[in-house]
């Protein structure tokens, strides 16, 4: 809502994060110089690897898609004042739910016999994909709703419980793919059976980018509309801003908590489904490569705004995509991109404290100082 009076505030919300990213780049440059690389060369390489050509930009898009979805797992509950960091766990659980559903719909079993693999069921791919998506959404949603329920009914800190749920989810993944749903053919990297090629989520025509990107974009826009334009979002923001005021207005705080946690978890679960159905084909330890934790970074850097999260996801996706090239051309360790990511995260979090500190961005009052009120019929002044 840009009106004549508050354009300065709108400008502020662009200048501060972009300024922070610039400062982050500067710090990263110092780091590169310290380890003996030419900062300008590194910047150029990152730019080229992330956004340089359409071909490399597609790598960025592929990485940005799950980040967009998993960032919503933090950004949505944040509207209610909850700090949820269970993105990784919800993503893993969503992926597990999706692969199990996908295998059952494709072969009739999670442990298909060779003859079943040779002759998969003739379920239309769209039905299989829809079932997988629903499974990812429901399992991921319930996973985070657990943290919400613990919070609402028992007063358990949702940050800690959602963090611990990550460990449980990852352990469950390792247990299942290492035993109950393991494909005996997966030797070095225990995995579930793979989905048949025909049931995989394909690429957007003319690109190497899978349909998951569209899921991410659509989910971000829906989340934004939900928060800003619906009564549900209004109620959630009210309860997040002041729970006592929400109670006086009779808002159902418990129901809101559970619903928004479910929705957040559902988005991360969908990210898990996308990773399984579009990238990995099976469930294995590659499901927890950090898109969940990256999502936390994206959500905070975007100040919990789902639309801003789209752009931050592209940025972080680009940074992740440039890991290989830094190793090859600058002889920097692979983890350099994580250092970069960490520096950006810290600087962006710090920049949050700068809002309202610059005189230029202050709102200018539009009312005049009222003249001295007439004597007896004075309007009440407060």
């Amino acid at each position: 809502m840009i009106s004549g009076q508050n354009w300065r505030r709108t400008l502020e919300s662009f200048v501060i994060p972009f300024g922070a990213i610039l400062v982050g780049l500067l710090f990263f440059g110092v780091f590169c110089a310290l380890v003996g690389a030419n900062p300008v060369g590194v910047y150029a390489s990152i730019w080229k690897a992330a956004f340089g050509t359409w071909s490399t930009f597609q790598n960025t898009l592929i990485r940005a898609a799950p980040l967009m979805l998993s960032s919503l797992c933090t950004a949505l509950p944040a509207q209610l004042g909850l700090v949820i960091i269970g993105n990784e766990g919800a993503l893993v659980m969503g992926g597990l739910g999706a692969i199990i559903t996908g295998l059952v719909f494709s072969f009739g079993s999670v442990l298909p016999a060779p003859e079943q693999i040779a002759a998969p069921l003739m379920t239309p791919p769209i039905v299989v994909q829809l079932a997988m998506a629903i499974a990812g959404i429901v399992v991921g949603g319930v996973w985070i709703a657990i943290a919400g329920a613990l919070r609402h009914y028992r007063g358990v800190n949702e940050t800690i419980s959602s963090l611990l749920l990550n460990y449980i989810a990852i352990a469950l993944l390792n247990h299942l793919v290492g035993g109950p749903i393991r494909d005996p053919g997966s030797l070095n990297k225990p995995s579930s059976f793979a989905l048949p090629e025909v049931n995989m989520l394909g690429d957007i025509p003319g690109t190497r980018v899978h349909w998951g990107l569209l899921f991410g974009l659509v989910a971000s826009v829906i989340a934004y509309v939900l928060i800003r334009r619906t009564t549900f979002g209004f109620a959630a923001r009210t309860a997040g801003g002041n729970i006592r005021a929400a109670r006086i207005a009779g808002l159902p705080v418990g129901k809101l908590t559970l619903m928004i946690c479910f929705l957040g978890g559902a988005c991360a679960g969908l990210a898990g489904m996308v990773e399984v159905a579009a990238v990995q084909a099976s469930a294995n330890e590659s499901l927890n490569v950090g898109y969940g934790y990256g999502g936390i970074l994206v959500a905070f850097a975007a100040r919990q705004n789902p639309l801003a999260a789209i752009f931050i996801s592209l940025l972080v996706g680009g940074i992740l995509a440039s890991g290989g090239i830094l190793q090859r051309t600058h002889n920097l360790p692979d983890a350099t991109v994580l250092v970069f990511q960490g520096i950006i995260f810290l600087v962006v979090l710090y920049s949050d404290s700068l809002y309202g500190r610059f005189k230029f961005f202050r709102e200018t009052p539009v009312y005049e100082v009222p003249p001295a009120p007439p004597t007896s019929t004075a309007a009440p002044t407060v």
């Binding site: 009076q5 334009r229 619906t230 109620a235 801003g241």
Partner: protein, 515 residues
């Protein structure tokens, strides 16, 4: 606070020093908050600083305390220029301040807060010795607060006493009190001010009191300095002045409170019925111990009581902020659980105390806060989609109607001044076409004369339209002025009830005190 330099030790002296303010001005940008004000606080006197909200009283004392750097002017202590750039310097000169808002750490005990307030460099605390010293101090101090209770469990009155005790504990010789009695009952206020008065008379202390209440000024104060719109507006000895003189200096004209016109209600029906209600405090101790109450349409029922006797929890249950442990609440004869649907159906509205904490979302806009009750109904919502235009339009209308001073409807409500936050809530709760039940708790807390008058008129108008009003207040004058029926709550139970015409003032006082 543990890093205070050695010079922060207060100058120990038995006699309070003389405090002089000379030509003090403070500008905030283009706003002149204080314009060339001078005053003298003579040793061993009780001095009041009078003025309406925004007159510059708080700005003046914040300049004295070193919170603000004055644009011009200086402070003299015993005729020596004093360089005070922070409250620690003020402490060095024996000046201590009790703020309008409490400054204790809620999770820590009274004893811990007292030790914490000291400006010395203590890395290790010998609790055995400290407790002995504190107990001895408590014995000799004018009022007592239990040392081992966490602050969160103290009632407002006790917290205010603790704030004053803190200054005595720090050996302050000049005490600046910023509206200290706004949270106290008249009895408590008289007790606290009376005890301070004794200390002043004994030459132990000088007091500079910021107040709105003439009753207190007439009873306890020697001298007054009056400010109006940031300027010096008068000075004199209380014995030479009348209330009319002082209010004229404050307001620039004589002003009587608008008398309230109550219409006699012909047909009334019970709206709110409470049956044997019990509720607990946050710590699980029972606060409301089985109360029964009926409020009829067109009636204001006032509940008086010393803070901390269960009235806050009672209001929270009715407003939906707390669960009752047992008992029943009926509105219009139907069970009432303070859900949104029930509030809408029975047209229940609330004016809670501390509106920014209880009724507003600080970082949301004025418009959004005004829409808190209506955002999910047409015309502000179509289905579950918000109609921002309708929300803004309604807010613009209410901002005009209730004279809310805000840069725009989109400004976060937390950026407004306290009085304008209050108006935002009033606009939301009192502008509905139809109200059946209004629950108000200390609605005028901390507001000035004009604002109080405005709110009182609004409440009585609502009553005259047939609204059932439950008014819980710690201001007995307010209750006596507005109520049709008065009830006293003490220790979680109703101990006195009377129609206002037959109310026995002495009996009310005795019941409040628990006799």
């Amino acid at each position: 606070m543990t890093t205070a330099p050695a010079t922060a030790e207060p100058i120990k002296c038995d006699r309070p020093p003389e405090l002089k303010v000379v030509g003090m001005s403070k500008h905030f940008g283009s706003l002149v908050a204080l314009d060339n004000v001078s005053m003298t606080l003579k040793p061993g006197t009780f001095h009041a600083l009078l003025g309406e909200n925004g007159a510059g009283k708080s700005t003046l004392v914040k300049c004295i305390m070193g919170f603000y750097t004055p644009t011009a002017g200086e402070v003299l202590i015993d005729d020596q220029p004093a360089k005070i750039v922070n409250p620690r310097d003020a402490h060095h000169y024996g000046i201590g301040m009790v703020y309008q808002h409490f400054t204790s750490v809620p999770a820590m005990t009274v004893a811990e807060n007292l030790v914490l307030s000291r400006y010395d460099r203590t890395n290790l605390i010998n609790w055995k010795r400290e407790m002995e010293a504190l107990e001895a101090f408590m014995q000799s101090s004018p009022f007592q607060v239990p040392l081992d209770l966490p602050i969160a469990q103290l009632a407002a009155g006790q917290k205010q006493k603790l704030e004053i005790l803190k200054q005595l504990y720090l050996h302050s010789r000049i005490l600046i009190l910023d509206e200290p009695t706004s949270v106290l009952t008249p009895g408590e206020a008289d007790e606290v001010l009376g005890l301070l008065r004794e200390q002043v008379t004994a030459g132990q202390l000088s007091v500079l009191l910021i107040s709105h209440k003439f009753r207190e000024v007439m009873a306890f104060v020697d001298e007054v300095t009056i400010l109006r719109k940031g300027k010096f507006a008068g000075h004199g000895l209380v014995k030479d002045l009348t209330v009319a003189d002082m209010s004229e200096m404050m307001m620039g004209e004589k002003k009587e409170p608008t008398p309230v016109h109550k219409i006699i209600q012909e047909q009334t029906k019970p709206v709110l019925e409470v049956r044997n209600l019990h509720a607990n405090k946050d710590n699980g101790v029972e606060a409301v111990k089985g109360v029964n109450l009926t409020v009829h349409s067109g009636e204001i029922v006032g509940i008086a009581g010393i803070s901390g006797n269960g009235q806050r929890e009672f209001v929270e249950v009715l407003a939906g902020q707390r669960e009752a442990t047992s008992g029943e609440v009926l509105v219009n004869g139907e069970p009432y659980g303070a859900t949104r649907a029930e509030m809408y159906k029975h047209k229940v509205f609330a004016l809670p105390e501390e509106p920014l904490r209880n009724a507003c979302v600080p970082h949301m806009s004025v418009a959004e806060n005004m829409a808190l009750r209506t955002f999910d109904r047409p015309p502000q919502a179509k289905g579950f989609i918000l109609v921002w235009r309708a929300i803004r339009d309604m807010a613009s209308g209410l901002i005009k109607q209730f004279a809310v001073k805000t840069p725009s409807p989109e400004t976060p409500v937390g950026n407004l001044s306290g009085g304008n936050v209050q108006r935002t809530v009033l606009a939301r709760e009192l502008s509905a076409d139809h109200i059946e039940l209004l629950i108000a708790a200390n609605p005028c807390f901390g507001l000035d004369f004009n604002a109080v008058d405005f709110i009182h008129t609004q409440i009585v108008n609502a009553r005259n339209r047939g609204v059932a009003v439950l008014l819980v207040s710690e201001d007995l004058d307010e209750l006596l002025k507005l109520s049709d029926r008065i009830i006293v709550i003490s220790d979680g139970q109703f101990v006195y009830e009377s129609a206002i015409a037959n109310a026995d003032f002495a009996a009310i006082g005795r019941s409040m005190a628990g006799h």
